[in-house]
């Protein structure tokens, strides 16, 4: 089936209608959070001891994560970065929900930056790039930007400082991956970009899944729940794209794909887990502001 870029534009337009409905699901909790944040501050603020305990617990989780880290996280520099970070717990001044939301923001900052970089590559964002991959990267960048704005708004609504910096533990990993992508021949570039995007999307999805049982504010939970499934959807599509690229079937990355031509195993490659894992989840305080 031939790709019709105009039709894709229309589909994205339709999806934005759906988005408008879903946006309400994010806006309502944010609006409520503004009210609750004001009440909390009026009531004497946050419990410092509770926050310090939360930070200590997450320092332990950070160390465990570093030991278990797989994929790109196992690359050079990550263990050292995590160890250094453990040595300077900089988060005890904020409420636990604020720290969780700041960490979520820091992951979104990294995702926005990475997709921006990817779209600067000719085989992702150039005129000769696969139009479906280009549209996916463009739309996903926009979605992460919206997630970032939402997490930042939630943070300030709860009385915290907006986090605009990337998660420090993952920065060296992304930097190394981007350097490798830049050096790679163009023929191999798309696979490397997809691998990096997959790593980040999985970290985001798993972190938010994990955060659901850590957050105490009902609206912060609602907001996080409205985002984690979207990151998981990014993962599903990236797995499918990765499989087609690895099979040398980049031409089949169309919307819709030529289903009759696809190998049987392609039908399930996008959702390998019946239950979403959390082994790659960032410790909840890892991206909290100092």
């Amino acid at each position: 089936m031939e790709f019709d870029e105009t039709a894709l534009g229309g589909l994205i337009g339709e999806s934005q209608d759906t988005h408008a409905d879903a946006l309400r699901a994010a806006r309502e909790p944010l609006r409520d959070m503004v009210d609750l944040g004001q009440q909390a501050r009026a009531g004497g603020g946050l419990d410092p001891e509770e926050n310090r305990a939360f930070a200590r617990e997450n320092s332990r989780r950070l160390a465990a994560t570093a030991r278990r880290a797989g994929g790109l996280l196992a690359g050079a520099g990550i263990i050292a970065a995590v160890a250094e970070f453990i040595g300077r717990p900089a988060f005890a001044a904020s409420g636990t929900d604020v720290q969780v939301l700041q960490t979520a923001s820091s992951i979104e900052v990294l995702a926005v930056s990475t997709y921006k970089t990817a779209l600067g590559l000719p085989y992702i964002g150039g005129s000769a790039a696969n139009p479906v991959i280009k549209a996916f990267a463009t739309t996903t960048l926009k979605q992460h930007f919206e997630h970032l704005a939402a997490f930042q708004a939630a943070t300030t609504a709860l009385g915290g400082a907006k986090q605009g910096k990337p998660d420090p533990a993952f920065v060296p990993v992304v930097d190394n991956a981007v350097a490798a992508i830049t050096r790679a021949p163009a023929a191999n570039g798309p696979l490397l970009v997809v691998a990096l995007a997959l790593e980040l999307e999985n970290i985001a999805a798993e972190t938010y899944v994990n955060n659901m049982s850590l957050l105490s504010d009902a609206n912060a939970k609602k907001l996080t729940a409205s985002i984690m499934g979207v990151e998981a959807q990014h993962v599903a599509i990236l797995y499918a794209v990765q499989a087609l690229l690895k099979a040398g079937d980049a031409a089949d990355i169309t919307l819709p794909p030529p289903a009759a031509k696809l190998p049987a195993a392609a039908g399930s490659v996008g959702f390998p887990n019946a239950f979403y894992p959390t082994s790659k989840a960032a410790p909840a305080t890892q991206g909290a502001t100092s």
Partner: protein, 273 residues
């Protein structure tokens, strides 16, 4: 992955890649789920103990503890064969047969959410089972192999979800819910009667997946137990992944919104058990 190595995958290699991902699921995901379910079981048993007193506690642990353990074990293992009966029953329901498993238990609180979730999973299983049956009978025309794999895998994952929820009910001394969702199922049945090809089936499956994902998302605001939240949170993204792949296959943009909503969620309040 080396930056200098071009990679090409055969069907066998792609299968191996899927197997690796599946192995990862069993190495990493299932132990975490077991832990959440065990934690929830303990919470439920503790709550039950407070209500019934020490004599009742001993009886509860003796009678339901073994059943809960067995159910947890089943819930956390592969679903390929052990849930065939559920799938068959649910498939029969999709085509009109009646079921009443798990109804009339007067459930409340988290357990009511759990029962709703189990019933919704039964509807998902029923939809895929009926679709696979129709495809096998040649009623949907030519069915691409990738679509067959999608349906089989999605159904298997819904079976895993259903078993997880029912494990919680069993742990609480309740009956597992084996009946389909009473509110959604008539809509599914009506739509399924009009399905004549793979596209129609995919559209119906998309409705089911989005309803399930949104119901879990809504449930996350209702469930009180931390372990219950962990369980629901681990399932919601998977249902939305199914939806993304279905949208992709249908030619829709696969990630249509930056935020998922709850407008199609099944409300706990209208689930009568």
């Amino acid at each position: 992955m080396s930056a200098g190595d071009p990679m090409h995958l055969s069907e066998a290699e792609l299968r191996a890649m899927s197997a690796d991902l599946d192995a990862m699921h069993h190495d990493l995901t299932l132990p975490a789920l077991k832990s959440s379910l065990a934690e929830w079981t303990e919470e439920i048993q503790a709550g039950d103990t407070r209500r019934r007193g020490s004599f009742a506690r001993r009886r509860f642990l003796t009678v339901t503890g073994g059943a809960a353990g067995a159910a947890l074990l089943a819930a956390c293992s592969s679903s390929s064969s052990t849930t065939a009966a559920v799938a068959t029953s649910a498939g029969a329901t999709a085509s009109g047969a009646a079921m009443n498993g798990g109804e009339g238990q007067q459930l409340a609180g988290d357990l009511r959410v759990v029962a709703l979730a189990a019933s919704l999973e039964n509807s998902g299983i029923a939809t895929y089972a009926a679709g696979i049956k129709a495809a096998t009978a040649g009623q949907l025309g030519t069915v691409p192999p990738a679509v067959v794999t999608f349906a089989q895998t999605a159904m298997s994952q819904h079976q895993d979800h259903q078993k997880a929820w029912n494990a919680v009910l069993i742990a609480a001394g309740k009956q597992p819910v084996t009946t389909v969702d009473p509110v959604v199922q008539p809509t599914i049945n009506t739509a399924f009667a009009k399905v004549t090809n793979v596209t129609g089936l995919a559209k119906l499956a998309l409705l089911v997946e989005n309803t399930a994902g949104e119901t879990y998302q809504n449930g996350l605001s209702v469930i009180k137990s931390t372990a219950g939240i962990k369980t629901a949170a681990s399932i919601q993204p998977v249902e939305f992944q199914h939806a993304a792949i279905l949208n992709f296959l249908l030619g829709n943009y696969p990630v249509p919104a930056a935020f998922t909503g709850v407008s199609s969620a099944r409300r706990v309040s209208d689930y009568q058990v």
